[in-house]
């Protein structure tokens, strides 16, 4: 790249360090002499993408292979994009500053529906054909994975193949296949054909979809007999035998998280009925203490960080959490290293562990009851009782915490006014518990923040068939809560329902939704997950222009026997199980944590049951 031009634009943009790379532990290989060039694209700004663990894993895994390289791309902030377009600079990698279209395979991670317009924008900025069908044998292959790949259909016009499941099992294999086929008679078609024979790979162009007159799906027709009727997800069976993430790229600028991160386990057994991650990441597979300890040791010494984050979907479920925390505290007692545990549950285990790790700062803590009333918590199978909530708060206050943040969802299935009142009630309980103590025990400046997001029905959850509330309904619910709060100690925050409805539209979208995403992109939508950029009217126009409607996606109850757009994917959880969970939720019947007995979700040879028995 022209250095003078590059520096000139960097002098004119906010946070130019987003675009320079060269961070500690980043890897710059000989671009022209490496066989397979993989472009990892995160469709959001640098600070967000750099906090993503999956990227770090794939980055080091791929670069670990001698004949492969992995370089990073993030969505440039709008000021940078404008300068790049003005100066005709294509989207370039942070490592060798090479343009996106010079890579063999472009890998996108799908974390969030509202980043989809950024995907199209990045391809466009990188000089890559947006539509899969227009790409030639000389163009890169565009692949996508991550949680949202479980409903790949809205992006099927743009993505050549989807990776379903855990990338570390498939990615390198896919790149090897590419290297093997990349010779004189290479064609895209041949590569896609061979790739589609691999487990966990979905090539949308090899399937045709027919629709009924009422706009629902009539059938999926595969083009070749050998193709699976449903693409099975692939996952790491033994979590003690994966790639050891001993290193992390250390950004220069403040990112969301700047700390060492080690996963305790994958999967979750809680069975919350709204949570897609709780279903698609099954079964639970734990990592043993020794491996976790070694990884944190190496990461700390390679990065210079002084915080360890132990990550998972529900950290207190790790069977040896107490022992692990003791070991880590003991190891790091001298170097002021902090340990943090995201995703804590509302129960006594959490407070015991918290006592150990939060020695210094005792300010804010976040809990997620998700729903205000017991009835609603039973419907969504969030198994926390009000008593547990009270006990947890009591012991937190006793330990010195004074600022509590509570997460809830509104717009949940079968919701009534009394369920919303329950949210306010939990805030009031917190206040009472804090102040109803002897004066000498009250420390700190109390506040409780009630934060509500709007429920979005997601694929592969028991609520995948449910109707989503309209914007008006959600707005009314927000006011219902807001109007009840007139206490300075109780703060109410809420998410914009408009974003949630667009998210819901895309989340359960079929292939026709691709046109909507394209229209929105053409109308200038980008960074839709950022409130300052999200424009609802743009999306309404995009939907109208493609002849689709919210009614057909968000605001109807889907039929149990209709073909769902994401039925082409097999997450190994059976549909029967999801149906039975839906039935139970109607009657507010809970399902026990499957550690205490198998619930028959459909996973065969469940690793957890082999190990935990």
């Amino acid at each position: 790249m022209d250095k003078r031009k590059y520096e000139k634009i960097l002098r004119q943009v906010e946070k130019p360090a987003r675009y320079i790379g060269e961070e500690k532990n980043s890897i710059i290989k000989d671009f022209d002499n490496t066989d397979v060039k993989f472009a990892f694209c995160f469709p959001d700004v640098y600070e967000v993408g750099m906090s993503h663990l999956g990227m770090q894993i794939l980055y080091f895994m791929t670069n670990n292979e001698e004949d492969m390289l992995c370089e990073r791309f993030f969505a440039p902030w709008v000021d940078m994009e404008n300068k790049m377009r003005e100066e005709n600079i294509k989207l370039f990698s942070l490592e060798n500053k090479r343009e996106l279209d010079e890579f063999d395979i472009i890998g996108l991670t799908l974390q969030y529906e509202m980043s989809y317009t950024n995907i199209l924008n990045m391809l466009d900025l990188g000089g890559v054909e947006i539509f899969s069908k227009n790409r030639t044998d000389d163009d890169p292959i565009v692949v996508a994975g991550g949680p949202n790949a479980y409903n790949p259909e809205p992006l099927s016009d743009f993505i050549d193949l989807f990776i379903i499941g855990e990338g570390e099992e498939i990615n390198i294999e896919l790149l090897r296949l590419y290297k093997q086929l990349k010779n004189d008679d290479y064609t895209r078609e041949k590569f896609l054909l061979e790739a589609s024979k691999m487990e966990g790979i979905y090539v949308p162009s090899f399937y045709d979809v027919e629709y009924k007159e009422n706009s629902r799906i009539k059938s999926y027709n595969k083009k070749y007999d050998f193709l699976p009727d449903r693409v099975k997800k692939k996952y790491v069976s033994n979590f003690n035998d994966t790639f050891d993430l001993n290193n992390l790229i250390v950004p220069y600028i403040e990112t969301i998280h700047q700390r060492s991160v080690v996963e305790l386990f994958r999967g979750c057994t809680q069975g919350c009925r709204f949570c897609e991650a709780g279903y698609i990441y099954r079964p639970v597979r734990e990592r043993n203490i020794e491996i976790i300890k070694n990884m944190t040791d190496s990461q700390l010494s390679n990065t210079g960080y002084n915080e360890i984050s132990l990550s998972s979907l529900s950290s207190c479920d790790y069977r040896n959490l107490n022992e692990l925390v003791d070991v880590l505290i003991d190891e790091n007692i001298d170097n002021m290293t902090r340990i943090s545990l995201p995703s804590l549950r509302v129960d006594s285990v959490s407070t015991d562990v918290l006592k150990k790790i939060e020695e210094v700062k005792k300010t804010g803590i976040t809990l997620a009851p998700e729903a205000g009333s017991q009835r609603m918590r039973d419907i969504i199978n969030k198994n926390i009782t009000e008593d547990q909530y009270r006990e947890t708060l009591k012991s937190l206050f006793k330990e010195g915490w004074s600022k509590i943040k509570l997460y809830f969802m509104i717009g949940l299935p079968y919701e009534e006014e009394s369920d919303l009142d329950g949210i306010v009630n939990l805030g009031e309980i917190a206040k009472r518990l804090f102040f109803d103590r002897p004066k000498e025990e009250i420390r700190g400046n109390f506040s409780v923040t009630l934060s509500t997001s709007c429920f979005v029905p997601k694929p592969f959850t028991p609520f995948q068939w449910m109707k989503q509330n309209s914007i008006d309904e959600l707005q009314e619910k927000i006011y219902h809560i807001k109007n009840q709060i007139n206490d300075k100690k109780i703060i109410y925050n809420y998410h914009d329902p408009k974003t949630s409805v667009i998210e819901g539209f895309i989340a359960r979208g079929d292939r026709r939704v691709g046109e909507v995403i394209y229209n929105a992109f053409k109308l200038g939508a980008k960074f839709d997950g950022w409130t300052e950029f999200f424009n609802y009217d743009t999306w309404v126009e995009a939907i109208e222009n493609s002849g689709l409607s919210f009614e057909n996606y968000n605001h109807r109850e889907w039929e149990i026997d209709e073909i769902l757009p994401w039925d082409i994917i097999d997450p190994l959880i059976s549909k029967e199980y999801l149906i039975s969970e839906l039935e139970k939720s109607k009657n507010a019947i809970t399902t026990k944590d499957c550690r205490h007995g198998c619930n028959r979700c459909g996973i065969e040879n469940c690793e957890m049951w082999v190990e935990f028995r």
Binding site: R4, E7, P16, I20, E22, V250, Y252, G304
Partner: protein, 217 residues
């Protein structure tokens, strides 16, 4: 033991902010086996102090920070280990012990800057001087920002006038005050020069490099 450390920050690392640089240097010091002293109090912080911030995008062969260690340390070993942690474009080139009340701001009075100007305008003929050199700078006044104009001719000196290095590239070297009384921002200075000589050149077409910090006391 208190140490004064000189380092450079060049290449693309000139695009990281002052705060980012502080973070980087703190991580660097922590990566060495030598224990940094912390302040007392409720929220202890490492005892490190830094020279005046460099504007974003300005590279430098001469930056400075002070750091206090609990014990006496092997300075050479510290420098070697710190340089192992640091990226190629940021390196320590000198470190020495100072007494505990030496402060960075009193140690230097001027910065030497090199301005590399890219333009199609022919600057060869211009004989630059700093007489009545005016700059505009932003000043915060009770939350409001206003632009004030001031004469900085006493605070700056041209060391080497505009010299052509290639078809569209010129170099100017100047000494700008950087003392406890006055700090001249190199961007304001070069903008002032462009205004004085009515040169229609964008500030973004100038590469600024700090060569040295000196004391004229």
């Amino acid at each position: 033991m208190k140490l004064r450390v000189y380092y450079k920050r060049n290449g693309n690392l000139k695009f990281i902010s002052h705060l980012n640089t502080i973070d980087l240097l703190q991580r660097t010091v922590f990566s060495t086996p030598y224990k940094v002293a912390f302040s007392e109090g409720f929220n202890p912080h490492p005892l490190m102090s830094f020279g005046n911030p460099l504007p974003l995008g300005v590279s430098s062969d001469f930056e400075v920070f002070d750091v206090e260690f609990i014990d006496d340390i092997d300075i050479e070993d510290f420098v070697n280990k710190a340089n192992l942690y640091l990226p190629d474009e940021v390196k320590i080139f000198e470190a020495f012990e100072i007494t505990s009340n030496d402060s960075i701001s009193k140690a230097f009075t001027h910065n030497l800057y090199e301005f590399r100007i890219f333009t199609d305008i022919n600057l060869d003929e211009i004989d630059i001087n700093t007489e009545n050199l005016l700059i505009n700078r932003k000043k915060k006044k009770k939350k409001r920002e206003e632009i004030i104009t001031e004469d900085i001719s006493k605070n700056v000196e041209i060391l080497s006038g505009i010299t052509k290095v290639s078809e569209d590239e010129y170099i100017l070297v100047a000494k700008l005050e950087n003392s406890t009384d006055k700090i001249i921002n190199p961007l304001n200075f070069i903008n002032g020069i462009f205004n004085k000589y009515k040169l229609n050149i964008s500030i973004f077409d100038v590469e600024i490099h700090k060569k040295e910090m000196i004391s004229e006391l």
